[in-house]
Symmetry: C2
Subunit: 233 residues, 2 copies
């Protein structure tokens, strides 16, 4: 699916695309005049776009947007900032799975250098979520925020964010297997490689988080994330 | 965890490691003499290895192997051969999740060139599973086979492989949500990007496979794999 942004619109039902999406339409879809592509308007409806122009400069589409995007999961993800290499995949995966809000949080075992990665630019954080939306055929951008101070976030913001949800803390070696098929809202916290330290565990538990795991295996963050979401939702 | 192979043993309870594992111990673990590392013997027990030598040439460990590896999932994965870039991640993920047997199968929408990828070398197929085992702290290598001919495999081999298991076919847009928490053995077939074609769907259904999905979202193969395993097992 091709995701359309406000600045792409040159008329109420027409867009002009350049750059990545133009190249993708030519090289991957091998689109030609008259072809109908799946499209969706950022935070709006989905449908089809008929190619009315395609050359080295631009792709133009006439749109019919008549479908609602799929519902989001009632899942807030609190994710210890992964190493830069993993961050992009984790963000795209969480977005494609339908997580509706993502908070990237500091933790004791998050290396300080990760917070200086160029991958934390607004542009990249948007781009990875857009790729996740296009993959999943969804248009609703998940909210994303950065919590560079663990304690401030957990004490000042988390109580409000997690209100009326089931709070679960992924903690390998935890006392309880992760529950399945939760029908209501869930707040899921996933730690760094190496896990949460005791003080962090206690902070979460003080707010009512239950430490849960998926059994004795230690999984990479993006694998654990998908397995937990598949199990919980 | 450091996985130990038969050729590493220089005495019943002593190994000498070179290459990747030596470099990893020096550069990532920053091990020193007397340190105790988590180790496991391929297809055997797990435990600790005390560093008795560490220099530019070799790492030697004195072993105490007294723990059983975690149980495997009773899950056979039939996976349409992913594009080479994705293959490594999918293999390591499936292994870390505890899948006990993996079959890489051809399908209409698998590009022929994928079967010529150097990543299908025995060496790489072993290496990716080893990385998955080390990640998950497991020692039991999942069986892996290649089914280059779809029909031959489905008609001649699959009936025996799937015997006494619940056969599920991941099929986005399928009529049924994937069931949760199956207690017995499962055979799970996951198609290529673009999905199974009708003839393939019919072949699987003829053997009793139920087409299931995870909802309206289209996921990347490694995300779908983890979400399905998290849900099923």
């Amino acid at each position: 699916m091709v995701l359309l942004f406000p600045e792409d619109f040159i008329a109420p039902n027409r867009v002009r695309l350049v750059g990545r999406r133009l190249a993708h339409a030519r090289e991957v879809h091998r689109a030609t005049l008259g072809d109908s592509l799946r499209v969706g308007r950022l935070n709006g409806k989905m449908g089809r776009g008929v190619v009315t122009r395609l050359d080295g400069e631009a792709l133009e589409l006439d749109l019919l947007l008549d479908q609602e995007p799929p519902p989001k999961l009632s899942l807030t993800l609190i994710l210890a900032l992964p190493r830069p290499k993993v961050l992009n995949r984790a963000l795209a995966a969480a977005t494609s799975l339908g997580v509706h809000r993502i908070v990237l949080i500091n933790a004791w075992k998050v290396e300080k250098s990760y917070w200086k990665s160029p991958r934390l630019s607004d542009e990249n954080l948007l781009q990875q979520r857009v790729l996740g939306l296009e993959q999943a055929k969804d248009t609703i951008l998940p909210e994303l925020s950065l919590a560079r101070l663990f304690r401030t976030f957990v004490e000042d913001d988390l109580p409000r964010l997690m209100k009326d949800s089931l709070p679960l803390l992924a903690h390998p070696g935890g006392p309880e297997l992760c529950p399945r098929g939760i029908s209501g809202p869930v707040t899921l916290a996933i730690g760094p490689e190496g896990g949460w330290v005791d003080a962090e565990l206690k902070s979460f538990q003080g707010l009512g988080f239950r430490p849960v795991d998926l059994g004795p295996r230690i999984l990479r963050v993006e694998t654990a994330l998908a397995a937990l979401v598949g199990r919980i939702c």
